[in-house]
Symmetry: C2
Subunit: 282 residues, 2 copies
């Protein structure tokens, strides 16, 4: 593992690393924020942040304004990249932003030529936490959050692994990818035409099949240009209600899909996760 | 004036505009943050933020994490670009980052081929505030801050115009540009070989010639790679002490030259300016 950068921020550290991923078959970069209080005798819990289409490990870390509150609450934040990268990793042949590089959709591809590298589900659920828990002063206590495609990732990974993540949150998530253009395109290529294989990666389908008791917080701006065609939070809310899943959906008037929206509410998400991480630690 | 974007953030608005600058002879872009409380019957004071080498209006607005506190304090923030731009605006013939485009040094050039466009001093001191005060719900109360080259800009513009700016702050400013590589290169090209013409743009020289009573706050990271060769805050501190200028210089252990450093302390700078802006309004 190579340390690419380390920068002091709010008394703690933002660091970037490169490592060779076994499940993704390529070199990957991730970033971690470690609060000042984190140390071998005082490990801290971890919030995993999954970014949206086109992002890398840097977008959230530079634009979300999350570190002041994370430092105060004593929470580490880990931000992986959004897809495998590098020579030999196939990209969308049409060069579009919504598939291929920067658009791994946090699933395990089963189709050629994608399946060799596009295994972001296993990377986020298994390989990355193992690495983080081996090399950094953290506890096994985990929460998960994300934005847009990463909100989809946080919901599906959190719901599929209720014993691993104490709480789930999302900003502007793709709630029901099986029925929207971004999700249909990605799932068809990565998973094939059999839609039963899509269900484990669709938050609405998951909630209907496996209602969890994990608390879920979702913020969605009502001025978000992707709201009606791609995001569909009303489908998630209906599924949660029908299955008694503890979901709070907050429609935020006037807010769009940007990091300005995220920075406005990220401190409330951190407080939400901190409450459940503390409860888990008792 | 063309509105290029508007995004809700912390209840207020981040907006970008393009306008034709008379003093710079080109089209310019700037960004403004307006807190929710700003309106025709409740105008707010303005903090002008000057960015460093290579930046545009976007760096501070996206990375500084300033809006939560600015919203709370009821302060607008205006971020201009760092140089004239566009077709016909000459750039460093060597293509370096430290001169020409993105490196206007907040001065009025007197030399060919620079003087037609490189008039950032007049733009920031006169043209931009006139525009802001005409079109936005702001008071004439102004404070000024900046980073690196923009810290130099904030110091020199603030000290040269003590009646216009109630307080001055800077992160990692180029304190004594006349004697450091970045400043010498820029001043020689923009202003010529006669070093007496450099003095109005050198904070240390200015303080020695025109001691002001404007309160000044400077934060400087001691892990900043540019500290000893380019920034030299000790020269500013010595000049301020010798002339009884109310300067507070805080050396911040472990911090570097990045926006992670800025976001760590920006709220304290906003509180510093708010205190003096309130006092001015009484």
């Amino acid at each position: 593992m190579i340390n690419l950068s380390q920068t002091k921020v709010f008394g703690g550290w933002h660091k970037q690393y490169q490592h060779t991923s076994t499940v993704l078959n390529c070199d990957m970069r991730f970033a971690i924020f470690l609060p000042e209080t984190a140390g071998p005798t005082s490990p801290v819990p971890v919030l995993y942040w999954l970014s949206g289409l086109t992002c890398t490990d840097e977008n959230f870390m530079q634009k979300a304004a999350a570190f002041k509150k994370a430092a105060e609450l004593g929470i580490a934040i880990v931000a992986p990249d959004t897809s495998p990268r590098g020579e030999g990793v196939p990209d969308d042949p049409d060069g579009k932003y919504d598939f291929g590089l920067g658009a791994g959709f946090y699933l395990n591809a089963t189709q050629e030529p994608w399946k060799k590298h596009y295994q972001m589900y296993s990377y986020v659920v298994n390989e990355l936490p193992e690495l983080i828990e081996t090399y950094f002063p953290v506890t096994p206590d985990k929460a998960i959050s994300g934005h847009s495609m990463g909100g989809h990732g946080a919901l599906t990974i959190g719901i599929n692994n209720p014993e691993d993540y104490v709480s789930i949150s999302a900003f502007s998530p793709i709630c029901h990818p099986s029925i929207v253009p971004w999700g249909e395109k990605a799932f068809r290529h990565y998973l094939g035409e059999d839609k039963t294989t899509w269900q484990p990666y669709d938050a609405v389908s998951l909630i209907n099949q496996h209602p969890v008791t994990t608390p879920i917080l979702v913020d969605q701006g009502d001025a978000d240009g992707f709201l009606h065609e791609q995001l569909k939070p009303e489908t998630l809310l209906a599924a949660a209600k029908a299955n008694n899943v503890p979901l709070t959906l907050r429609m935020q008037p006037g807010y769009d899909h940007s990091y300005f929206f995220i920075q406005t509410f990220i401190e409330e998400h951190l407080e939400f996760h901190a409450e459940h991480l503390r409860r888990d630690a008792w």
